[in-house]
Every structure is written in C-alpha cells, then in structure tokens.
Symmetry: C2
Subunit: 412 residues, 2 copies
C-alpha cells in the first residue's frame, strides 16, 4: 500500500520500559483497522480519575475531539479508548454516532457514565470508522486490561511514526514517591493519512482537574505548542492529563501555587518537553533537529511570531537540510513576521557563531565555520532582536526530499 518510511535517525536504540501507574490499567490489540499491527487501545482507571485536556483549534475538528471537548468540563474520566488507522474526522452525522455507540458500549461493560469515557482516533480523514470491528473488539479488550506493557500502548497509537514515544518521570509530594507516565504520537504522515498529535499523561498523585488543567495548558504553550514540522496542524490533536489519586496518600492540594506541586510541575514539564521533541525528531524526512531561540523581542508574543516565521519557512528549512549557512533566508523570514524590527539592532547566530549584526554580515564571520557547524544533527539558530525582554523558543526539523517523497506518494 504505502512505502515504508525510513526510521528517523533520532530513533532511540531501545524502547524504554515504563513502570506502572497506580490506578491505571490498559490493554491493546490488533482489531484490523490498520492493515497490520496494534491499532486499538483502552485505558481503564480503577476509580474515577481527574482529567484535563487541550485540543486542536481546527474549525474542522474530528468527531472524537468534539466529544472530548463536550465532556472535559466534568473533569472526570473512567476510560480512554484510542484507535489508529482512522481519524473519524469529517465523517458527518455517522462519525458522531460512532463515538456515541463506542462510549455507550464501554460504559455499559465497565459501569460508568458514557460521558466519563474519552475517545481519540488518528489516521485517515473522511472515511467512516469500521465500527463493527471496534464494537466486536471492545469486550475482549476490556477483558485483557492490566496484562499489557506501556510500550505496546505507545505502539498501538502510532500511525506512521517511525518509533514509539514514551517516557516516565518520578516526583515527590510530601516525601512520598509518585509516577508520571506519558505517551505521544505524531508527525508521521503518509498519504492519505493525516498527522495527528496525540499525547496522554498519567499520574498516581491526587491532583484536582482544575490544577491539572492550569499546568497542562501552561506547559503546553512552551512545549507541544512550540513545535512545528510543516506548519500544518491536524483535525485531531489531543492532549489529556489524568490523575488517579491511587498512589500513596498525601494531603489535599487545592491551590495552583501550592509548593508541594513543584515536583509534579517539573516532571510534567520534562515529560512534555521530551515527548514534543521526540515528535519533531520523528518529523517526516527529518535529518536535523533545529532549535530557534528568539531573544530581546518587544514581547514574548512577538518573539513567538518571529520564531514561528523562521520555523515555518521552507527556504530556511531546506537550507538547513543542505547544511547551507544561508543566513539571508533567516533575515527574510524575520522580515516576514511583520513585527517592528530595527535592522541595525538585529543579531543572528548559528550556534555560538555570530553571523549578522549592524544591518549586515559580521566582519569576522567565516562561512566555512558556520557550514561546519550545520553538519551537526542538532543545530540552533539564535536571533537577538535588540528591542526588549521578550523571548520564545521554537523547535522544528529540516525539510528534505524525503518529506516530499512521503507526502506525494500516491496510494495504489
């Protein structure tokens, strides 16, 4: 059907083993939605878990996203079902009905309300879910919960990712140990699939959904919302953070600024940063991981706009792919951001190499050094606007012939 993607050069040598999270059980299976491999997963919480979520802003979002948006306000989850191979997006009335049918079946088996069952789907847009296959699989799937490992879970939500993405962090509250596990998928797209970003995070600490929501959104802004592969975002992007409260008991936490949250916040930040970078490193055709740091802009927002303009420029991304220190294209991209810029205050760096300042190329700039620096697989571009204190960092990958190959490959 589709050509197999080359494995990303950034793929880890070994898939990590993740510890269990108290109160979280899961199962995975092959339900024949995809041609082969794991494609259906369920996570069931022993008791109701607190939950927070962020979802795509797309005006053409998928049926599962609409469902999750409608139930997230309750802040409670008993289960999460995820399939790969079909996004259930732009599927009209039947698409919404298929979500209802799935959640109704699950809630009747595990004894909960349907609006406590979260749903995510990733894969082809515009085709109806093979709902019979899914409904037939659900009883068996639920029967098997608790017997599976986390790498299978990360595996089951993959579409064209070239490696599974998972990570675990430990943290403390009141000197007791808690776990935060995370899985993500994204960035692989093969015609006709749509790249979807999915991320799910699970902890056994007991944190109210309001506080989960606050930190998920805050940290999302500087992690998953600060990465771009091709500027295209999906109809199905979903991040969900669950807290089971089934770890060792700790005192009630009901204030976002409670210092006992610090361990959790740091763990969540590490985990979201790591997984968002894994997504970029598995970007289609990616051969370089690029960090774009904009400093001394008028505001953080202005820095973000400038950073995104650089990160989304095909000309910048192809130059990096070619290991070409073509800094003129960075200047072009900065100019396109339509932010107030004083050309004479602007400084541009490749890594620590100062390339441009005072409105022109730096006098002692040696192009060979910059070309040599760009041979690294992880490179950084730093732009100093020289106007204020605003800063923002964006991560992206380069733009290679492989990207075009993957995405222009006609299904046959």
């Amino acid at each position: 059907m589709n050509k197999k993607n080359l494995t990303s050069p950034f793929a880890p040598l070994n898939v990590p083993n993740l510890p269990q999270v108290n109160g979280v059980k899961h199962a995975t299976m092959c339900s024949d939605i995809k041609e082969s491999g794991l494609d259906l997963a369920i996570i069931v919480f022993d008791k109701l878990a607190n939950v927070a979520g962020v979802f795509t802003n797309s005006e053409t979002s998928s049926a599962p996203v609409s469902w999750c948006k409608s139930i997230i306000k309750n802040g409670l989850a008993k289960a999460l079902i995820i399939n790969s191979g079909n996004a259930n997006a732009f599927t009209g009335y039947p698409g919404g009905k298929n979500v209802t049918v799935k959640t109704a079946l699950i809630s009747s088996i595990i004894n909960c309300r349907a609006d406590q069952v979260f749903v995510a789907s990733t894969g082809v847009i515009g085709e109806q879910l093979p709902i019979e296959k899914i409904l037939n699989s659900i009883p068996l799937l639920i029967k098997n919960i608790g017997k599976d490992n986390w790498s299978n879970l990360a595996q089951a939500i993959r579409t064209t990712d070239t490696y599974p993405k998972l990570i675990s962090k430990k943290f403390k509250i009141e000197d007791k140990d808690y776990v935060l596990n995370g899985i993500a998928k994204g960035s692989g797209m093969i015609s006709p699939n749509m790249g979807t970003l999915l991320g799910f995070f699970f902890t056994d600490a007991d944190i109210p959904s309001r506080i989960l929501d606050f930190y998920l959104k805050k940290i999302n802004e500087v992690t998953f919302n600060a990465i771009t592969v091709d500027g295209d975002s999906s109809t199905s992007d979903t991040l969900l953070l669950f807290s089971t409260g089934e770890g060792p008991s700790h005192g009630v936490i009901d204030d976002v600024s409670d210092p006992r949250l610090n361990g959790f916040i740091n763990a969540l930040k590490d985990l979201m940063l790591n997984l968002s970078h894994q997504v970029i490193k598995d970007g289609e055709g990616a051969s370089k991981f690029i960090t774009i740091e904009v400093i001394n802009a008028l505001t953080n927002d202005s820095a973000k706009i400038i950073g995104n303009c650089i990160a989304k420029s095909p000309l910048v991304k192809t130059a990096i792919a070619g290991e070409d220190p073509n800094w003129g294209r960075i200047i072009m991209a900065i100019g396109n951001a339509q932010q107030k810029i004083d050309k004479n205050k602007l400084k541009v760096y490749f890594g620590n190499i100062l390339v441009a300042k005072d409105g022109g190329v730096c006098e002692d700039y040696i192009e060979e050094l910059a070309a040599n620096y760009l041979k690294n697989s992880e490179v950084s571009i730093k732009v100093d606007i020289g106007e204020g204190n605003g800063s923002f960092t964006v991560w992206t990958c380069d733009f290679t012939e492989e990207y075009i190959k993957i995405n222009s490959d006609y299904r046959s």
Copy 2:
C-alpha cells in the same frame, strides 16, 4: 557553481517580441555581477514619466526598496536601473550609500534629479554590490539606450527564473492606440539567492501618478498579491508602473472613474494577471499550476485567508504533486484558517468533481475520477463555504522533490 534548474514545463516555446513604448528607451549589458549573462539594465524616459509603485512589506527590506519608497511620493521618474545577481539587502550603511552613488552618477549623466532615478536589485542577500563594476558600466549603458529589444530587458532582470517573462497589450483612449508593456521576474531561487518578485509596466498613455497608483494597488491585490510559491516573501519585491504620455495626445484624465480609462484598466489587469501566473508557472520545481477558488465565505477577506491556508499547506501541495486526490488535507487546511466554518455547509471540488459535502465525503464521489483529473498540468480546487458572498482566488504551484533539491543545494 549552482546546478542548473530544469526549465519549467510551462515555459513558452518562443520568447515574444514586444513593440516599443513611445517615450521609453532602454539598454542592457553584462557587467560581471553574475557569472555570466545580462545582469544590468537601464530604462530612460525621454521626458519625466508618471510613476506608481508597490513594494514588499518586509521589515527587513532591501536598500533599493527603501530608496524607492522614499521617492515614489513625487510620482515622477526619469530612469530605472536594475541589476540581477545581488539584492543589496541587509547590507547596512554601505548598501544605502551604494544606491546614492548610483543614482547620483545616473542623474548627472542624463540631467535629472537623483530622486527621479528608481533602483531595483535582485540576487544574493547580505553581500555588498560590486559597485565599481556598476559605476564603470553605467556610462556605456546609457550610451547604448534605444538600441535594445524587450526580451533582452526581461532577460537581464532574471536570476534563476527558467524563462524570461514579458507581455504587451494594446488599448484605446478616445479611439487612439496605446501600448502597455510589462516584464517580470521571480520565483526562481538557488542558494544563496533570494527569490525576488520584480515587475515593471510601461505605457505611452498620459495617466497621472495618482491614478496609476490607484489601479496598480487595486489590481495587485488580485494578481501578484494572490500568488504564492512557498509562502516566503522577499526583501526586495517591487512593482513599478510608468506612464510616459508620449503616445498620441488625448484629453486630460484626472478622475479614477473616468470611463476612458477602461481600456487601460483591462490591459493592466490582463498583463498583471498573465505575468503573475507566469511567475507561478516558473515556481521552483513546479509541475502543476493550481487555482484555488474560495466562494460563499462570510467576506472576501475571510475567503482570502482560507485560500492562502490551502495554497501554503505543504501537505496539500505535495498531494497535488503526487496526483493524489487527498481531500482530507484540504479540509485540514480550511480548518487551520481559523475562520468560522460550518462543516455541514462546506463543499469541496476538484475541478467540477464534488468531493465532500454535508460534513463528509460525497456519496457518489469516485476517487478514480478525481485522481484522473489531477493528472492535468493545470488543476483547480474549489471550496464553497456556504456562509455568505465573499470570494477570493489564489494561485500556486505544487511542491515537488525538485523544490527541495534546488533549495537545499549547498553552494560549492
């Protein structure tokens, strides 16, 4: 130095011969700014011509653009000097000084004010102009004016365009015949050059600069401002429209709504549309010319935002390159435009083939027909938002491996 680009499949078989425009004389030469070929051109007007211009909005615009922006308000031009091979952009104080020196020399030879000499440069960013070569060439260049043809002029302003772009239209005022000639360049970029869009239009009718300005800006919005190759715009984009008044004499025109302007307006629109399409058809690596028509949006502006989102999406452009009717990517791009959309009212067409409606794929849609349609070298995507009366059309090209090859090719 750089690999030669493959000639665009849309290149015309023959370079057209353009008639002379009364009151306009020009000359071209090889001044050794580029490795080989014509790279310097001057246009001198017999008498002062009326002039209007539009320029890049880039915050990092080039020294010639800054110069032209500062003198355009006078509305009068005696000469225009253009070089290819070097953009004189991000060249700091020396870059601005080089513009002053050039215009001073030309004005002293042809007896005009320096602020009546327009300047355009296209090519490498961040390198200083070889100003000695240019200053040495100018006297000879001026000596030769009037002996050259228009195809050489279109040739001299090329950088990596794979063919020269020029066109002429005739029109009438008060039953007398006038000429409108236009040349343009753009869309070819080879590392480390920056693609610059330049367009120059010349008529021998007598139209005040205020009216030239009105129509140049108005028509620009639906021609040159409605095309995109890769979403990257240049530091040097410049369009200039000159009126010599040296054709047959006609009555004074001082009202933009004067019906005697109709012939001129139509000719200008034809010419700007044609040249803007020629630029897209010479887009780097382009194999398909794509028309994206958005209709029944809430407003024209909303239609334009949606159209641009589709036209700039790498996923849509790679799908078209692969002749893959992957309409899910169009839905995705529409969703990303962040315009109010009712999924159930949306309709998507490839050519006349209705693909999606009522929130899902069209029941009698046959994918083979759409795949077959996409084998054409000129294809159209139509999106009916179903919300209002706003419409906009955007033109772009597909995104091929050749684009990446051209732009990631390291200079050596």
